[in-house]
């Protein structure tokens, strides 16, 4: 342009020298992570995820959590970080309906089984029969084989 010759060699160093790549764009997420974590360590010392044993220090080192439970354990750290990092704070996208339904049914089944054994223990046989029927129904809904009840 303007009758000048512009050389265009786009190896990494040239590209950076020419401002073709913008390092701040590459590491924006990391910067935000560090910025939001900096004031944290003192207040959270000793905190550890019960599920996987992860600590905030390990998170600071790797930028990754250890297990899904970490999001609950470290909610005080996670929440402000997500606020800075994302467009919103609440998920508005796709929901895994079938996986969630399966989980609900399993949780319900677990509760019914607990109730059933408690009812039997305290000789509340009418309740026990009711729970047993419900269990059969839930197992059917969940696509599981009916359990032998005796």
């Amino acid at each position: 342009m303007n009758h000048k010759v512009h050389k265009v060699d786009l190896c990494e160093s040239c590209a950076q020298a020419k401002g073709v790549t913008d390092p701040s764009g590459f590491s924006l997420a990391d910067l935000l992570l560090k910025a939001s974590l900096n004031p944290e360590p003192d207040t959270v010392t000793g905190l550890r995820c019960e599920q996987c044993g992860f600590t905030p220090e390990e998170f600071k080192k790797t930028g990754r959590f250890g297990c899904p439970q970490c999001y609950e354990t470290f909610t005080d750290i996670v929440s402000p970080m997500l606020d800075n990092m994302h467009k919103g704070t609440v998920h508005v996208g796709k929901v895994p309906e079938r996986a969630l339904l399966r989980k609900q049914l399993h949780d319900r089944l677990h509760n019914l089984e607990t109730s059933l054994s408690e009812a039997i223990k305290s000789e509340r046989y009418e309740d026990a029969a009711k729970f047993r029927d419900e269990i059969v129904q839930v197992r059917e809904e969940a696509g599981l084989a009916p359990t032998p009840t005796s």
Binding site: H6, E12, S24, Y71, H91, V92, K94, R98
Partner: protein, 365 residues
Amino acid sequence: MPLSIDNLISARAELTDNSSTKCPVVLMTRIRLARNLASHNFPGRAQAVERREVFAQCREAVMATKALKRGVSMAVNELEPLHRQVLVERHLISRELSNSSEGAGAIINKDQSVSVMINEEDHLRIQVLRNGLQLKRAWNAIDTLDTALEGTLDYAFSPRLGYITACPTNVGTGMRGSAMMHLPALVIAGQMEKVVRAVNQLGMVVRGLFGEGSDASGSMFQISNQTTLGESEVDIVKRLQNVLQSIVDHEMNARAKLLETNPAKLPDKIGRAYGVLKHGHIISSSEAMNLLSLVRLGVDLGYFPDELRTGIDRLFIEAQPGHISHRSGQKNLNSEQRDELRATHLREEFANFTTPGYASAVGEN
């Protein structure tokens, strides 16, 4: 296993055999979803036993889906380093996965438009590729596959935070949509810095051809969404589509302006690139990318027939170091040997190319 990979490489692929002419500035669209199993530690934290367990469970679920029923399944630690490199160069697995240990692997369909990585940063990284700018189609395909997987796998999901991922930058949709864009005129005109800044301000990221930290050889850039929480997948796709379209318009304007202000400059660059590709004897991979980029621009401007674009897009992949070594059948080539073999391959390919006619006018695509 090696036989499967060789078959895969020689098969017709979405990216190397179906180049899109509708929007030549965009080479490829890619969408990936990060997913994890609810009751397991993330791969970075899991011990070998748990990683193997997750691999087996995910593999079974993935192989049962329609999209990957006849796919090639591979465990990374059973792959030769050269095969891993070839898969990275074809964008089918990430560098991170290629360096992984036990319990990491991938399942890839025959035309290489769908690939699922297991035990990368997350338990599952589902990826769909499409040539050209096809974000909506890619989303529909990946949505169907993801729904099929959810039929058997219990995903880690929270109603408030969405899909739970190892890195908080991915929670919510776990979705990253990206397009590989060829932007030679914006680079020549020195406007890329401005574009990168504008794109960043819109919550998008610009990277090189091979993701984070890679360079922009061949004027190739990956543009993707940065945020994943607080916006639906469909809205992310829409927003990305608008940003990409506006970059395409800027690139086309820059091309027109370059031809207007200095009509001989672009044909000169393109003609020289064509000459080196047709007659060179030593060509590094970075040089090959830059030369191919200029000839691709030549196709867009009408100096070469449109059909050649597919061949050039294939050469972008075949000129990579792993592909050159794989083609030669020799494992331990040094870079000088590769540079000679690369030049030979390019000479052979370009011997069949039509001689350019420079009379054609501005790329009006």
